[in-house]
Symmetry: C2
Subunit: 481 residues, 2 copies
């Protein structure tokens, strides 16, 4: 009975928040969109230092206009823009992360003269703003400001102190972000980070993401003769290098796509019933995705997309050996290389998986070298290969679905919309700022809000107006968590 | 007793032929080498029609000078140069084939200003002539002329009527050769063709080759999603295209390098004891070859090079899928291709092996397409691949080692040198004029005579003088078969 009353009361509050914020957004739509269009008119490629500075100044003014105490934080690279807004009585601090730089542009490929002179096409909620960073990632900054204003206008305060950090180098892998932590430790202190970046689930529903996979890339090379040898004069007698690589790769997975490398999944923890239910509740339209990609069926061992995201991958992203096509020569190749990427989950370490993969290669009879083998090494070992790491390992991150801060956020969104958000336990891809999350040491959640078909990183990047306006309600719910 | 006397008599005859031809060659060395240097001074790239014509005229004059009735035979391409020399009482006609065109040149890569201005470096028998076609294939033409002269000077006649055909398009795959047969049938009629081309065995001993492998090349492509998809967003769920190709390729051979495609070796006929002995007698220096190539051991299933040449191959000559190296992207590739060459032996048909390979691919669950699959095909089949033929199939050829004409030739060389020549049952590589041999319909043998390290087809092609002079004795022995 009491539970019923409480539910009814929460539902009323929900309807209130959604109704009042929506009404305010409707009334101020022109000003909100105008503020975004102004922000999009400043070019923001990370390497364009003068314009990056203009963006930072513009955003500092925007934060001030919406009640934040703003600051430009200098770093070893592009400046961070910072804002603080304290709420009397709040016992929790939430740090919102967005970025204000954008991907480089090739204007010739756009359907408009200048990616930094925004163009609006279409009508009403279906209208779209076309400009670099329209979705990625200036829209969420403006939406956050609007949500703060909408709450204020509704006589509501955020339930936490707010900190905002705006990164000017995300599309360049945020090299200055982790080093800036030591310098600005006090300003960045919070209980939860909320990343406003990326597209919402393709269903268009509010989306909460608990984590993202990490990545490590390696090149696996099998060495054959010192240089390609004539396939007629030596074919059958000289071992075929490309076939050896193929056989080695084939040994790594079973017929259903599961990794056979010993111990690869050893550290994986079984899903809880709640997590299982959460994955099953994600409204993925597999049939539609397969149709778009032109593939009849997913890997037999991973029929459900969300399940596939919970395990590390072993993906061959490229193969190369001698030539294919007009340049092909009738030789036994001198080497064959597979470019591999391994997506990590929270429970796996990149070093560990690469070590296990190395052990697997050795178990197939290969002697591993780091550099191209010399004559003595060639004479000694029948099978030679190199497994070489490319670039840094980026770890996965994941906040526990049972974390009380996560529960509070999801509860607030659920109340506001009358149904739970789409909850993704693990994004398949990698978040470039994962090292920043790791270094800060408090949990992070991603609340991606823009339309999934926004052409992010490509030409004709766009933002659907209806999705943008709805995102203000979602962010208001987050502020009221 | 009689056998002993006969052997002694043959040995005397042997010593006679070798001694008298060698003495004549020694006495005329300057003139012989001069004749070759003159021939090398005429550029002979097949596409250089005016100079090809100059070569043809020059060779016609050379044939006339050495007692042949010469003729230039026009074709749809470059002219053939033809010569006939009848021997009173001869019951057999032997057709010698050489070619007078050479590979294109890149003078900047040569250690001399002009590949068509021959340079001699070194002293005595170790001296070498550097020029395009020095070895491939003008030297054998001049050596044949010298051998005819040397026999004549020794009071000996060739044991057969001689026909000579000099091809002007061999390095351009001899497109006009087979069509010319119908027009010049009578002139080309013979009992045996002897091809004077290519390097002698690396031991430097006289060499007789009974056949050569043919070739067919195919591209095997496995199709994945329509375009590369994000390896994070879809990794594990989306089947990996490159791994599928690797698994398919791995299924084609066992761990020792033998082809597992059903029926691949079905048409192979076991070696006779004589053939077995012949293969075992080839003085291949495997250890040296492995050292040069930088490989510790040959394929376990083919420990002996000559054995490896008696079976068809299945060689992956190239692999390609998306990118490896700096351009690598974290995607699941849209396609993966293996470029394959299959070397054929006399007992195998190219069509048959490709059909068996196709059946093998289908047996692994693939639906085979010819063109890139359309949406309906993509939706219907879980595994899609294409196996596409490149260019024409060139058949193998092989003359039986028990053919009486082959036995007569080998016996004559054995008598002359006091030991049998190196006999190669099957060259591993492919002879471009195999279709010509096939169309003529009588047996062919290759008597390759130049130094194995002649840099054929490359810059700084050369001819070792000692090997060249010895080849005149070998050819004289062939003329006396």
């Amino acid at each position: 009975m009491i539970a019923g009353l409480l539910a009814a009361s929460l539902l009323a509050q929900t309807a209130d928040l959604k109704t009042s914020v929506s009404a305010w957004v409707d009334a101020h739509q022109k000003a909100i969109v105008g503020e975004l269009l102004d922000a999009l008119a400043i070019p923001n490629v990370a390497a364009d230092t003068p314009n990056i500075r203009r963006n930072a100044e513009h955003l500092r003014a925007m934060l001030a206009r919406h009640g934040f105490t703003p600051e430009i934080l200098d770093t070893t690279g592009n400046p961070l823009v910072y804002g603080a807004l304290n709420v009397p009585g709040a016992t929790r601090t939430v740090l919102f992360y967005c970025h204000y730089d954008g991907q480089p542009v090739d204007p010739a490929k756009w359907n408009q003269p200048d990616p930094f002179t925004p163009v609006v096409r279409g009508e009403g909620r279906e209208a779209r703003i076309y400009a670099r960073s329209a979705s990625d990632d200036k829209a969420p900054i403006v939406a956050l400001m609007a949500a703060v204003d909408a709450l204020k206008a509704s006589g509501l305060a955020p339930s936490s102190n707010i900190r905002v950090i705006l990164d000017g180098e995300e599309e360049a892998s945020s090299p200055s972000l982790v080093p800036a932590i030591a310098r600005y430790k006090d300003k960045l202190r919070a209980d939860l980070m909320i990343i406003l970046d990326g597209p919402a689930h393709s269903s268009g529903r509010p989306t909460v993401v608990y984590g993202a996979r990490g990545i490590v890339t390696v090149d696996l090379t099998v060495f054959g003769p010192k240089s390609g040898v004539h396939s007629g004069n030596y074919g059958n007698w000289m071992p075929n290098t490309a076939l050896r690589l193929a056989t080695l790769l084939a040994s790594m997975k079973d017929d259903e796509g599961r990794v056979k490398v010993a111990g690869y999944y050893d550290t994986i923890v079984p899903l809880t019933a709640e997590e299982r239910a959460m994955l099953d509740a994600v409204p993925d339209d597999s049939a539609k995705m397969l149709q778009v990609f032109g593939v009849a069926a997913p890997e037999a061992g991973f029929p459900k997309l969300q399940d596939a995201m919970q395990l590390p991958t072993l993906n061959i992203r490229g193969l190369a050996s001698s030539f294919v096509g007009p340049g092909a020569r009738t030789i036994i190749p001198d080497r064959a290389t597979a470019a591999i990427d391994i997506r990590l989950v929270k429970e796996t370490s990149g070093e560990d998986l690469v070590t296990k993969l190395s052990a697997h290669v050795e178990k197939q009879g290969y002697h591993l070298v780091q550099a191209d083998p010399d004559d003595a090494t060639r004479a000694k070992f029948g099978k030679l290969a190199a497994l070489r790491l490319n670039g840094p390992i980026i770890n996965a991150f994941r906040t526990s679905t049972s974390d009380p801060r996560a529960r509070a956020l999801v509860a607030s969104v659920t109340r506001t919309f009358g149904q739970p958000p789409v909850q993704l336990r693990t994004l398949g891809g990698t978040v470039p700022i994962a090292p920043f999350i790791e270094a800060l040491g408090f949990p992070a959640l991603i609340v991606p809000t823009v339309n999934f078909d926004n052409n992010q990183h490509e030409e004709n990047e766009n933002l659907r107006i209806g999705t943008f306006l709805d995102s203000i309600v979602t962010i208001a719910a987050v502020l009221r968590m």
